[in-house]
Amino acid sequence: MKKIEVNNLTKIFGSHPQQGLKRLMNGEQKESILAETGMTVGVNQASFSVEAGEFFVIMGLSGSGKSTLIRLVNRLIEPTSGEVLIDGQNIVEMGKNELIETRRKKLGMVFQQFGLFPHRTVLQNVAYGLEIQGVKKEERNKRAQQSIEDVGLHGYENSYPKELSGGMQQRVGLARALANDSDILLMDEAFSALDPLIRKEMQDELLNLQNKLGKTILFITHDLDEALKLGDRIAIMKNGEIVQVGTADEILENPANEYVSNFVKDVDRSKVLMASHVMKKPAVHMADKSGALAAVRKMEEAGASSIFVVDKDNNFKGLLTIDNAINAYKENLPIENVLIEDIHEISPETPLNDLFGVAVEAKYPLAVVENGKLLGIVSRVSILSGLVLGKNEVTTP
């Protein structure tokens, strides 16, 4: 189900926006409109849609029109033309009361500079949206309290915003948007004003919250890494236009044009690529089927000094080194007794970034395990080649 649908949305700033619109429709460039009429095309015929429960990121550099675009969605800025459907209803054509009602019930917003009310306590800030709807004090404080706890600010209810750090202030901003219980969260560069560590923490928590609460999120950022990390889908904006919409993979692998490819060229691959992208299918030894001698032969074939051992259902058992295998054969022990079991297991979603330290310390390749099953192995070599080549080249045998 489409939660937000934006069709041909255009905003022209200036004295005669309709004239500017006509020029734009006749195919005139933004630059020539600015030069001839002094009017700025903020957003140029943007179209996209966001599914219910989707995390949709709009990413662009400053001046690309992304902040204007998000304000057109809740009409903090009046669009020049086009439509914005929220749950199928066109917000552009709504009357004053209907617009206020939609903002109250359906759209929460989080701001880059937090936009907290300095004269109100945390609790009063969070309860603001409910207060203006006329929700009784007891009820609104109860609901505000719940969202304060959701964002981990328990104990700060009676503090004033200026007494809190930036990260905590933005938690208040987030709690305020959650308290209304609207399905849609509009987030305008919500984490851009925070320092990197707090930022990462907030990103992780936002992802958790979204998993838990199932909100539809429209998130604006100028940071590609942030976009790739958070977005189910990403729209890239340039000069007021949306130049590409797609998943992180689609954008990284098939940039729509030179602009996008220049953008993604510098992406820190270590943050985008995950263990599953660089892992290889290991030679395995089925423990139940055959004994130590068969395992030694397999290692010989593969030219390796160790082998991963699984049972018949591919459940990961441990690692068998060649020395241990030979000992087991000589002393006629079952393989299970000589397995090295404290092998470092990683999940397929572990970013490459987090593997460096582990890979340097580990004596053996890392086992990629999900639900107890061995999916593949990651060696130091494949981490490095993944960084250099990208995942396509690595996964193709």
Binding site: E101, M109, R176, N180
Partner: protein
């Protein structure tokens, strides 16, 4: 440069004599009556109340809004006013200042709000304020006498003209200084214009508005001296008497009384500004 003659003087006089006084005279008379009742009521109340009680209240207010220092000063100042036999004159001045400040604030703040939120209104209000602030006060003292007679009513009117601009301007300034993202946040959650105004803009503009009230009060007090020329009773008329009889001592006595009032009123209203900033 005398290319043509503009009969502004004759025209204005004819307008005043033929239309303003005969046609609107009654209207202004009724305003005058209402104001007189108000000012006289406040004056009588202040004079009739036991000075000791008033001083006690003043000391408490001073202590609360400013501190021990001002409370002590209020006590000493009151003793001074009593000792030079100017208590009653001081109360007459205080009554005019309170009434005209009240009117200035009640009319000025809404206009300040309108000017802050409406561009057309701003472009209308601003030149009027410029006019009110730059026109020499003696110029409007004359029509004030014609329309409202002598005494404390024209004094209140003239003081209103003189003292309202800061209340308007500081209100406008205060509202415009509310950070844009805070206003946006309020709107984004579905505030109506009224909710935005009284839940967000006014509370945040309050320190600035209180600074405007402080300015208005100070201007009203300084006008109290000038207004004595049109028969306003109080400390101003004491100073005026000192001037006209070349009595330096009397002038100084009255002048110091005004300084005492000014310091107390200023510190108390500044205390209000500080309190609202917290």
């Amino acid at each position: 440069m005398n290319y043509f003659t503009l009969p502004l003087e004759e025209g204005t006089n004819r307008f005043v004599d033929d239309w303003l006084l005969p046609v609107t005279g009654e209207f202004f008379d009724s305003i005058s009556e209402g104001l007189r009742t108000f000012v006289d009521g406040v004056t009588d109340l202040l004079i009739a109340a036991p000075p000791e009680l008033l001083v006690l209240i003043l000391i408490i207010i001073s202590w609360k809004f400013s501190g021990k220092g001002l409370a002590l000063f209020a006590l000493l100042g009151s003793l001074y006013l009593g000792s030079v036999d100017l208590w009653e004159a001081a109360m007459q001045t205080v009554a005019i200042v309170i009434v005209s400040t009240l009117i200035s604030v009640i009319i000025g703040i809404p206009f300040g709000i309108l000017a802050a939120t409406n561009k057309t209104m701003a472009s209308v209000v601003r030149p009027i304020l410029d006019f009110m602030q730059t026109l020499p006060s003696f110029v409007y003292l004359i029509p004030a006498i014609l329309l409202f007679g002598l005494g404390n009513v024209p004094a209140v009117i003239a003081t209103f003209v003189f003292a309202t601009p800061p209340a308007v301007r500081m209100t406008t300034l205060g509202i415009q200084q509310v950070p844009a993202d805070v206003v946006e946040a309020s709107k984004a959650f579905g505030s109506t214009k009224w909710q935005l105004l009284y839940k967000v803009q006014l509370p945040l503009a309050l320190p600035s508005i209180m600074a405007g009230v402080n300015q208005t009060m100070m201007l009203a007090l300084s006008m109290a001296v000038i207004a004595s020329m049109i028969g306003a009773p109080g400390l101003g008329s004491v100073v005026l008497e000192g001037i006209s009889t070349v009595n330096v001592g009397l002038g100084l006595t009255g002048g110091l009384g005004i300084v005492v009032l000014a310091i107390i009123m200023d510190r108390i209203t500044q205390g209000l500004v500080r309190k609202n900033k917290k």
